[in-house]
């Protein structure tokens, strides 16, 4: 004879074993997508390199070797990627720049995520006039040439990392808000939300407990596609000389420096450009794979 409690736990167990959640199915599908998996592995390698790689080199990212200006890659001097126009080691600089680019990508996406999900979920859930006004604001902001305003912002307040985060994050949330709102509108019609409302659950609890968890899939896809966008924007700013400040660097700034000396020192352009392109490539591929994997139409 089993007690009610153990029957409950048996039941739980059975349900967990037999039920295939959206996430479980998505994971199965993602595992079969070789391109996306490869992209994930390459990304992991790039992440590890960027974090731990500088330890592998005896050089520091800011130290100029005056006797080795624009030296080609060499194992002997341990300048694996060569040196730049004032003799700094490009291997360490590329990885150091990667830290900056990835950090900007992740933090600004986080900012966009917070604002976008909150904005979209509230607009979609409350609906009516509030929705109208909130989405009107998004429309107006959407039509602004934001890149130009961000450039102005950087010029006005000087090169400041924190500002880059805020500036990019505050522009990239618009897409997020639109997507989340659309999704929330359709979730709003679902029975479980109606049930929660009938039980008298407060609106913000419904949003937090029922709406937001159901948005996770689309948000996950969107995040993997937003990070490369942000990295690109930061690189664009750094390329114009408005991004990070010396001796700190980012992939965009390195590409800019490399492009100036590319005729006699093409390695300065090649390595940062390759890292930048590989990262963007893999993030896009992974995002596509996630989108396919989480697509409920495609079981």
């Amino acid at each position: 004879m089993s007690t009610p409690a153990s029957a409950m736990s048996n039941f739980d167990h059975a349900a967990a074993a037999s039920g295939r959640s959206l996430w479980h199915l998505a994971w199965l599908r993602l595992k079969r997508n070789r391109a996306a998996l490869t992209a994930a592995v390459v990304l992991a390698v790039i992440f590890l390199l960027v974090i731990f790689g500088p330890i592998l080199s005896p050089h520091s990212f800011a130290h100029p070797y005056w006797e080795q200006i624009s030296a080609p890659p060499s194992l002997e001097t341990r300048h694996f990627f060569g040196t730049d126009s004032i003799g700094r080691d490009l291997f360490v600089r590329t990885l150091h720049g990667g830290r900056m680019s990835l950090m900007v990508g992740l933090v600004a996406t986080g900012v966009a995520l917070l604002i976008g999900v909150a904005w979209g979920a509230i607009a979609g859930f409350v609906g009516g006039r509030v929705d109208n006004i909130m989405m009107r604001v998004v429309d107006i902001l959407y039509a602004l040439p934001f890149m130009f305003l961000v450039i102005l912002l950087m010029v006005v307040f000087g090169r400041n990392i924190l500002l880059i985060f805020v500036a990019i994050g505050s522009y990239i949330w618009l897409d997020m808000a639109r997507i989340v709102r659309g999704q929330t509108l359709s979730l709003r019609q679902k029975e479980f939300v109606e049930a929660a409302e009938a039980l008298g659950v407060r609106a913000w609890v419904i949003i937090w407990r029922h709406i937001v968890p159901n948005l996770l899939g689309i948000v996950a896809v969107y995040v993997t596609l937003t990070v490369p966008k942000v990295i690109l924007v930061e690189s664009f700013l750094s390329f114009l000389g408005l991004g990070v400040q010396e001796p700190n660097t980012s992939w965009g700034a390195l590409v800019n420096e490399g492009a100036q000396d590319m005729e006699f020192a093409p390695w300065g352009l090649f390595f940062p450009a390759a890292f930048l392109a590989a990262t963007l490539f893999c993030l896009n591929f992974l995002g596509d794979g996630l989108r396919d994997a989480l697509d409920p139409k495609d079981r």
Partner: protein
């Protein structure tokens, strides 16, 4: 219905433009420094005279209203940096260059993107499809400011086929590299969009009917499917145009083209208030008008949409 719709949309654009002008105006004004800093140190009397000449000594709110008034009359004011020119003259000089560059890039991205995407969808999951979509993904991942120096390195420096920069009065030779560098990422994106929607369209019933009727393949692809499959591409045109305008800022800088984009960054760094504002306004209007055109095209080719 159409004229009313256009009028409504144009009226709707007014707040957008007003907000744009306001943000840009106050952003650049609260920046430390002024337009006369970079010159040799001016005696305070002369500086005061200069500021009085350009009405910079008045309260900011008054200057703002004055500026709005003159913009409404179509006068973007004098440039501080190029003191012999008005902003209108400078933009009239740079705008055609930017327009040719951006317009050619947009056309190229559209034309080749749609063709590549259609072929990939037609031969879905073949080796050709993988090759085309793999290249498209690479194209998206390589930003145009990376692509441009690489193109210059190969086609101008190593092979010596094309000039590395300069406008040359708009000669075709000078246009090739900048246009390709500007267009390629968006071309790749258009190709992916086209393939995606084309694959779906080719599975639909009307395509099966057309095949059963024995219509030639090119007619099914080029005439029937493309019309439906192009909808997402058309709606991407708005963002694409905005991105191309932004991208042309760097492309003009890399290739040394006398377009409008180069005025922007330089003007902002030199606190050339009126020049920066002029460029922002022109770009804002451009994007608004372009989005309107896109929406009209969209409504024309999608019979499900009615003007409200």
């Amino acid at each position: 219905m159409l004229p009313r719709y256009i009028l409504k949309r144009l009226l709707g654009a007014i707040p957008t433009l007003l907000i744009l002008v306001t943000i840009a105006f106050f952003l650049i004004r609260i920046a430390p420094g002024g337009p006369f800093d970079d010159d040799r140190n001016l005696p305070p009397d002369i500086l005061a005279n200069l500021e009085a000449k350009y009405n910079l000594d008045q309260p900011l709110g008054v200057q703002y209203l004055n500026y709005l008034g003159s913009v409404l009359r179509g006068d973007l004011g004098p440039s501080f940096q190029y003191s012999d020119f008005t902003v209108n003259e400078l933009i009239a000089e740079g705008f055609p260059v930017s327009l040719r560059l951006g317009g050619s890039a947009l056309l190229m991205a559209l034309l080749f993107g749609v063709i590549i995407g259609t072929i990939a969808a037609w031969r879905q999951n073949s080796r050709l499809d993988y090759l085309l979509m793999g290249s498209a993904m690479t194209g998206i991942a390589i930003p145009n400011f990376v692509l441009a120096p690489i193109l210059i390195l190969f086609f101008a420096v190593y092979f010596g086929w094309l000039p590395a920069g300069g406008w040359g009065g708009g000669a075709l030779r000078n246009m090739v590299l900048p246009v390709i560098a500007l267009a390629l990422p968006y071309m790749a994106y258009v190709a992916r969009l086209t393939r995606g929607s084309m694959v779906e369209t080719l599975r639909s019933d009307f395509v099966r009917t057309a095949r059963a009727k024995g219509l030639p393949e090119w007619k099914i692809l080029g005439k029937h499917s493309l019309k439906v499959a192009l909808l997402p591409v058309v709606s991407y045109l708005g963002p694409a145009a905005a991105a191309i305008i932004t991208g042309s800022v760097v492309i003009e800088q890399i290739f040394g083209l006398p377009g409008m984009g180069r005025y922007f960054v330089q003007g902002a760094l030199n606190r050339d208030y009126t020049l920066v504002m002029g460029v922002v306004i022109v770009i804002g209007v451009l994007i608004v008008v372009f989005n309107l055109i896109v929406d009209i095209i969209y409504a024309l080719i999608d019979p499900r949409i009615r003007y409200e």
